[in-house]
Amino acid sequence: MVEILYFAWLRDRLGRSRETVALPGDGGSSSVRAIMDGLRRRGAAYEAVFGEEAGPIRCAVNQEFAALDSPVRAGDELAFFPPVTGG
């Protein structure tokens, strides 16, 4: 299983700040992209958030900035959020 966190407008649009999903594939290792593809199939809200038309999205695996092809393993914490705007 992978713990997924959503921040800012992604959380607003999905109506949730976190959820746990099964790792796609054989459960050993997957990628951010594969998990996003799985999420997109969950319905219109997910499709809108992870679709081409949505704003730019960044991600982090275990609290480190990650890329779409970064590996994700069982027990990892995966976060999706917009580009940061602090300071």
């Binding site: 580009p83 705007t85 602090g86 300071g87």
Partner: protein
């Protein structure tokens, strides 16, 4: 290097933060500081800031660590507020203490530039009519960070 990193709802006192640097060493000759404030753009009422607890602190720690070795800092304090902050309220404080003013002020710019682009905070604008809007990242912030000529703390 004396490091203090805090994410909090409460405001901060520069005098109190400065007093905490007293033990940073006799070699301290200058302290650079930056205070970010909620700007009253276009009738804005307030900003609401959220962050990614845990990742925020570790990213700021990495930025501060890079600044410390690059500029030879004696102390660095970063206090970043979250929650609802009305126009005029302080958002963030960066304090960098060094032997000389050039290092202290350069480090202050370095920390705030990277904090803007690599610390996981997000701002939502609230207007008096109830409208709200998530702030988009600004390319100028990426450019400001890029001028330091490093890949940035996220890559380290």
């Amino acid at each position: 290097m004396r490091v203090d990193i805090r994410v909090q709802e409460e405001t901060f006192s520069l005098d109190a933060e400065l007093a905490r640097l007293a033990d940073a060493g006799l070699e301290m000759g200058g302290i650079g500081a930056f205070v970010g404030v909620v700007r009253g753009d276009a009738g804005l009422a307030a900003l609401v800031l959220e962050h990614y607890p845990g990742m925020t602190e570790s990213m700021i720690a990495r930025i501060v660590d890079q600044a410390g070795s690059r500029f030879g800092l004696l102390a660095c304090t970063v206090v970043h507020r979250v929650g609802r902050l009305p126009v005029g309220a302080p958002i963030v404080l960066v304090l960098c203490a060094a032997a000389h003013r050039g290092a202290a002020l350069d480090a202050t710019g370095f920390v705030i530039d990277w904090l803007k682009t690599q610390a996981p905070f997000w701002k939502r604008e609230e207007y008096p009519d109830g409208q709200a809007r998530w702030v988009a990242a600004r390319p100028s912030d990426e450019e400001a960070a890029a001028r330091w000529g490093t890949a940035g703390p996220a890559e380290s």
